[in-house]
């Protein structure tokens, strides 16, 4: 397993993280989630991430694509498999664990 992972990492080079954050307008929870996410990414994934903010108030139909009902929701679309984390991401350790930042990006 470890060998396979090494092989994959080695093969693809540094992995690109694609993160989508669904928010509803500039609500306190949304702002807080965005701030928490950016801090985490800068610390652990600097240079290897992109964050897409989707404001459902402006683009409500996009909610169906990732089956969003809770706000804020963070979707990690890359690396696969897809993960979802809801909430304001205030518990950094929990977010790290959930996104598997350490295991996927040592």
């Amino acid at each position: 397993m470890t060998a396979g992972m090494d092989f994959r990492t080695a093969d693809r080079g540094p992995e690109l993280w694609h993160l989508r954050l669904y928010v509803a307008g500039a609500s306190p929870k949304s702002l807080k989630a965005f701030a928490n996410l950016r801090a985490l990414c800068e610390e652990h994934l600097a240079g290897r991430y992109e964050i897409e903010i989707i404001d459902l108030v402006k683009r409500p139909l996009l909610a169906r694509d990732d089956d969003i009902i809770a706000i804020p929701t963070l979707v990690r679309s890359l690396p696969e498999p897809m993960r979802k984390i809801i909430g304001d991401l205030s518990d950094t350790d929990r977010v790290m664990l959930s996104l598997q930042v350490d295991t996927l990006s040592p």
């Binding site: 929870k29 459902l56 409500p60 169906r64 089956d67 009902i69 809770a70 909430g87 304001d88 977010v95």
Partner: protein, 586 residues
């Protein structure tokens, strides 16, 4: 969006003079009657019950009828099934969801919430759901919303407190949007719903149930509460038929049948006579009850034949015999049903009672009646339905059936098997529903069994209180007066022998009287003869006396003459002294 639109309330619900609350008619057969016009407009209604009870279908039909019948587009937010599954599931009921979606009248949104690929950290809310729902509502300009089953959210999130507060906010938000919502919920242990969402939806709660009693499943619906509105409080059976849900409200809701003064013949002049002449009222319900083999079916068949002979259509629902068997049997007593079948005036519907649940029977009957439009419906025998349900359910079903038929002005004749001479409990349960009750009974005695009929009751008409014996002859039913003696009623050969006995007694008496009259005449003649003789004797005597009297007086004259002559002979003195002596001699 404040709802001021008032919808007409079905006329059957007369106790709702005017809707106290604006209502959104569901279009579901029967449900609008028991809710007094529909669900509370602009408010959420909770529909809860166990799995498979028909919650989703009720919600879907509410939307579909809203679109097709009331011009109100709708949104279906599905937490359990995908849009494709939903469309496939209701396609068999004739609901074309894909088409409605294409026409922009219906939005179906499947919300897939799985906890496995989701983590929670920190605060969140359900704004995403609100936005999705809001977008769907706006897209089709929805007036109706169904959330099926919203409680699945509790399974998706570990933070139940947030789900709770968000649901409370959701229902408030739905009210603000002025949409009429149906929220379904799974029945929980000791509570209406598993997560107690009835706490948030307090305007109207409908409980569905699905019970199996004696291998027969029955779906039931009950309006648990309906704030600000009158509603039926009973459990109403409902049925998922070919065209969706049918709630079958019970009679008590509407006793508003138009009644007919018209009388229709029973098919037997003598029986008509017992019912005061012209027969039974059109649209009334008639029960013929009795023990096995008393001729109930024959009477029922005769009613059918009479209807067909008038050119009317009759529907014969048989629970224990097949149509060919009934036709053959009735032909043997001179009732030709095959002729009326060929003429298209008679239709048979033969089905075992256990094949369907009671509600299905009722619905099948209603469908048949709607298709065939008969003026007479016969059910033979209704007691067999007890095999398909419990006594009280059977009577409830019959109540609805009679109610339905009366509402249509259709005459209904039922036969009922009773066990023994006493009225059975099933008889008693439906007794009050029946307008004319004919009781046929077998009278045993002298080694034979004879049939007798009497009218137990017949509302609104003079009717005979007499027991009539009836014979099933080659030409149908024939009624005969029974022998009513001082202490007993005789039928059959006992009646015949009693009558013969009476006849011979009468003859003997007559002969006796004749004899006595003859004797008297003879005596009179003899008395007259004797009187004549005595009269003649008397006359003779009288004649003698007269003769003697006449003789006597002439003799006196002679003597005077003789005395004068003697005196002259004796030369008596002139003063007549000699005459004195002569007189002394006399």
């Amino acid at each position: 969006m404040t709802a001021v639109i008032s919808h007409p309330v079905p006329s059957a619900v007369s106790w709702v003079e005017r809707p106290l609350l604006p209502k959104a008619p569901t279009g579901i057969a029967g449900l609008d009657e028991v809710t007094g016009g529909g669900l509370p407009r602009g408010r959420p209604t909770l529909v809860c019950g166990p799995a498979g009870c028909g919650k989703t279908l009720l919600g879907m039909e509410f939307l579909v009828r809203g679109i097709t019948e009331y011009g109100e587009p709708g949104v279906f937010l599905a937490f359990e099934e995908t849009a494709g599954d939903l469309a496939a599931n209701v396609a068999s009921l004739g609901f074309d969801l894909t088409r409605m979606q294409a026409d922009g009248l219906l939005a179906v949104d499947h919300v897939n919430v799985v906890r496995a690929d989701m983590d929670e950290t920190g605060e969140w809310d359900l704004d995403g759901l609100f936005i999705r729902l809001g977008a769907a509502i706006d897209a089709v300009k929805a007036r109706r919303v169904v959330l099926d089953t919203i409680e699945n959210l509790f399974g998706a999130f570990s933070d139940a407190a947030t789900v709770r507060s968000e649901l409370r906010r959701l229902f408030g938000w739905l009210k603000e949007r002025g949409v009429t919502a149906v929220v379904t919920g799974e029945r929980g242990e000791g509570a209406l719903t598993r997560h107690g969402i009835e706490e948030y939806v307090s305007d109207c709660v409908i409980v569905l149930d699905h019970r199996v009693i004696e291998q027969t499943s029955t779906r039931r619906l009950r309006i648990l509460k309906y704030r600000g509105s009158l509603h039926g409080t009973n459990e109403y059976p409902f049925f998922i038929g070919e065209h969706g849900l049918s709630v079958l409200p019970i009679t008590s809701l509407g006793l508003q049948h138009a009644v007919s003064e018209e009388r229709v013949s029973t098919g037997n002049a003598r029986l008509d006579g017992m019912l005061g002449g012209p027969g039974v009222f059109r649209g009334s319900s008639i029960l013929v009850s009795g023990t096995a083999g008393t001729g109930k079916s024959t009477i029922v068949a005769q009613f059918c034949e009479a209807a067909c002979a008038r050119g009317e259509r009759a529907l014969y629902i048989a629970f224990e015999e097949s149509a060919p068997q009934i036709i053959r049997n009735m032909a043997s007593v001179g009732i030709d049903l095959a002729r009326w079948m060929a003429a298209g005036l008679l239709q048979f519907h033969c089905v075992r009672p256990s094949v369907l649940g009671l509600e299905a029977h009722l619905l099948a009957m209603q469908t048949l009646v709607e298709d065939f439009q008969p003026s007479l419906v016969a059910m033979d025998p209704i007691t067999n339905l007890i095999g398909a349900g419990q006594g009280i359910e059977v009577s409830a079903m019959l109540t609805r059936e009679i109610d339905y038929l009366k509402g249509q002005g259709i005459t209904a004749i039922f036969s009922g098997l009773s066990s023994g001479s006493e009225l059975t409990s099933s008889d008693q349960q439906i007794a009050s529903l029946i307008d004319t009750w004919l009781l046929v009974k077998a009278i045993d005695g002298n080694g034979e069994r004879n049939r007798a009929l009497y009218i137990l009751k017949s509302r609104g008409m003079a009717h005979s209180n007499q027991v009539r014996e009836f014979l099933i002859t080659d030409d149908g039913i024939e009624f005969i007066d029974v022998y009513v003696g001082q202490h007993h009623v005789l039928t059959g050969s006992a009646r015949a022998s009693q009558e013969a006995d009476e006849r011979s007694k009468a003859t003997a008496l007559k002969q006796d009287i004749e004899q006595r009259q003859l004797n008297l005449e003879r005596r009179r003649k003899s008395v007259e003869a004797q009187a004549a003789i005595m009269w003649r004797e008397f006359q003779a005597e009288a004649d003698i006396v007269e003769r003697l009297r006449q003789q006597g007086s002439s003799a006196g004259e002679v003597r005077e003459e003789e005395r004068v002559e003697q005196g002259r002979l004796r030369s008596a003195d002139a003063d007549g002294t000699g005459a004195v002596e002569a007189s002394a001699v006399d």
